[in-house]
């Protein structure tokens, strides 16, 4: 009795799971589903572009900082001998 009940519940759960998955796959293949996928992909492309631009701005700021950093003149003889190149 207990075993039959377990099998009944397992079968019902598998049926519900399979039907949900099949319905979603059918929706994915339909025209509204394709439109939704394209729209979501566009959102992802926009997010990717924003991330690229953020990285570019970060790198540009780094280069600017590197170029505008004040430099000091060091006479070669003022460097200790063991640190000279």
């Amino acid at each position: 009795m207990n075993g039959r009940f377990v099998w009944f519940v397992a079968g019902s759960a598998a049926g519900v799971y399979a039907s949900v998955k099949a319905r979603r796959a059918a929706y994915r293949m339909s025209m509204p589903g394709l439109i939704d996928q394209a729209a979501a992909l566009g959102e992802g492309v926009r997010a990717f572009n924003a991330e690229v631009r953020h990285g570019m701005a970060e790198r540009t700021a780094e280069i600017e900082q590197e170029l505008t950093r004040p430099t000091t003149t060091v006479h070669p003889l003022s460097i200790p001998e063991d640190h000279r190149p």
Binding site: Y27, A40, L41, G44, L67, T68, P70
Partner: protein
């Protein structure tokens, strides 16, 4: 007059005009160079091939010294000009772009963008299905104003009978 002859004459006229314009421009450039040479303060200045950008340790910019070397006006570039020139070089731009792409392709960015796409698709699907159900419900109510629960409870038939009796 054949058409190829017309084209030949037009090309010859155009070439003459171009040669005259080039001669006029060359003469004007020589005149300007001679003029600047005469106005130069010290003729014994060393001829430097190009301006050299020197980093200035002071934060405030010193006034730029304009020099005329061999009839050419040489203006030392400011720090902003040096930076903008360095950033506009193709190699630097490519390196900056590659850094941005590498940042966007990091695992955390990939995961975030993938999750964003999945969430967007799920939200759109839910919204569309909900709208469809609402539209179907509205269409059904327009045809049959009795709520579905009345059919389930068996009240719809009684209401129809009442309506028939009232009519």
């Amino acid at each position: 007059m054949p058409a190829d002859m017309v084209v030949l004459v037009a090309t010859a006229v155009l070439a003459c005009v171009a040669v005259v314009a080039a001669l006029v421009a060359l003469r004007a450039a020589r005149q300007v160079a001679r003029h600047q040479h005469a106005d130069a303060p010290s003729p014994a200045e060393p001829a430097t091939p190009a301006a050299v950008a020197v980093r200035d340790p002071e934060p405030q910019q010193a006034p730029r010294e304009v020099r005329v070397v061999e009839g050419r006006v040489i203006v030392p570039p400011s720090r902003e000009e040096v930076v903008s020139t360095a950033l506009s070089r193709p190699q630097v731009r490519l390196a900056v772009l590659l850094h941005g792409v590498a940042r966007a392709l990091r695992p955390e960015s990939r995961d975030r963008i993938g999750a964003l796409v999945r969430r967007e698709y799920r939200d759109r699907r839910r919204h569309r299905l909900r709208s469809g159900r609402r539209a179907a419900r509205a269409a059904h109510l327009a045809v049959d104003p009795t709520p579905p629960s009345a059919h389930w409870l068996g009240e719809a038939d009684g209401r129809a009978e009442d309506r028939a009796i009232g009519a």
